[in-house]
Symmetry: C2
Subunit: 211 residues, 2 copies
DNA sequence: ATACGGTTAAACTTAATGGTTAATCCTTAT
DNA sequence: ATAAGGATTAACCATTAAGTTTAACCGTAT
């Protein structure tokens, strides 16, 4: 493979990374192409040389970030372990990921809510159907033992995900009510505590569910 | 009190209402003063006559919306009923409010995350300290019976709130994974089901908590 | 050598968009 | 009736941001 002036497409990658940061931080409307160019260490002309419009750049970034987050979740839930184990593992790993990407949830949720058509291009490529069905079938006995019917799965899954995602999306609301957690270190500790709290909470609720 | 041309401040109110809608729908960055003026049925000059800058208008709107939401939550939790009853009542009433203000959660959370200083003016006027303390003290015996220590209260309260708020904030993410719920009627039904699901879930988890 | 892709700087175009101005309207007080 | 003053308007202004253009530079492949 012949190398040109710039070996790989490092410029494109730098743009992509810069754009991810700026979009994630400010949202689509608040982001400025100039700021992205600055952060990538290039000028606006080159930025448009790689991504002709803001929309296109945003679309690319959004899709990657959404997929990244989604695939992490799926991969954990696809593993071949008991449902209870999955829960513990999920909260552990997912919360660690979110600690490293604290602004990601609110960014994804907000942009999605502002233009739902963003999903169009991604929907087909994500194995959400697969996840939904296989999750219930793989743990049919275990879930049946908990009195969880197939119809209950959406409520349950939403509940599980909200345990880890919501605190990050609502971070500043939490800070408002619990000023101690304004300190990032303490917030992270709080979220690490939450791993066990959440797993225990869900498992207890399931085990003792009225059938 | 002498009345001038316009008896009450109906114009101001119309502006305020229009601004609430537009900001809630598009966010600060996505909102246009022109659109607000149009929706209020006036022109931009008059808009600036009442609210000199976009920031000022936004600040006023945001504060009112945040307080509105917060006070509803507080009022339910302050009532003089058992903790279990509070939970059921909270999920019932809170979810009904959110059904009528579906975009409010993501709006508040997103704007707050973009400029946390928004809280400054509001913090003092909200009885969150009061809520935190009185909640635990009022139900000391009941919560003790569940093995909830004072330190556990933030985790518990966050959990409770996330049951009702998160689904609205994540509405389009949910729609992506559960296409049936794209239909608003069905989504509302789903959320009404969730009232009982959430209350049962939390109460079961509490009752059987390992101490 | 030369052709070409990546890159820069800088000036430019164009379409909003927030905010202003000066005049007009309307109601009430005198 | 008329003056005063708040409410309202149409037109305007200044700035910003996306995207373009142009001319030049530089390293590598042919």
């Amino acid at each position: 493979m012949v190398k040109y002036q710039v070996p790989d497409n490092q410029t494109r990658d730098r743009i992509f990374k810069a754009a991810s940061e700026v979009f994630e931080e400010k949202g689509y409307d608040g982001a400025r192409m100039q700021e992205i160019a600055d952060l990538a260490g290039i000028n606006k002309a080159l930025l448009h040389y790689y991504f002709s419009t803001k929309d296109q750049l945003f679309g690319a970034v959004f899709q990657v970030l959404l997929r990244k987050m989604f695939e992490k979740i799926v991969s954990i839930f696809m593993e071949d372990i008991s449902f209870k184990e999955k829960l513990r593992k999920f909260f552990d790993q997912h919360i660690e990921i979110l600690i490293k990407n604290q602004k990601l949830p609110i960014f994804l949720l907000n942009e999605l809510s502002h233009n739902p058509e963003l999903v169009q291009g991604i929907r087909e490529t994500l194995p959400y159907e697969q996840l939904r069905n296989s999750l219930f079938q793989k743990h049919a006995k275990e879930l049946k033992g908990y009195g969880i019917k197939k119809d209950d799965m959406p409520q349950l899954m939403l509940t599980v995900v909200s345990f880890s995602v919501f605190p990050f999306a609502a971070r500043d609301m939490i800070t408002m009510m619990i000023p101690e957690l304004a300190d990032n270190k303490k917030f992270i500790a709080f979220m690490r505590d939450r791993k066990e709290f959440a797993a225990d909470f869900v498992i207890t609720a399931l085990k003792n569910r009225k059938k």
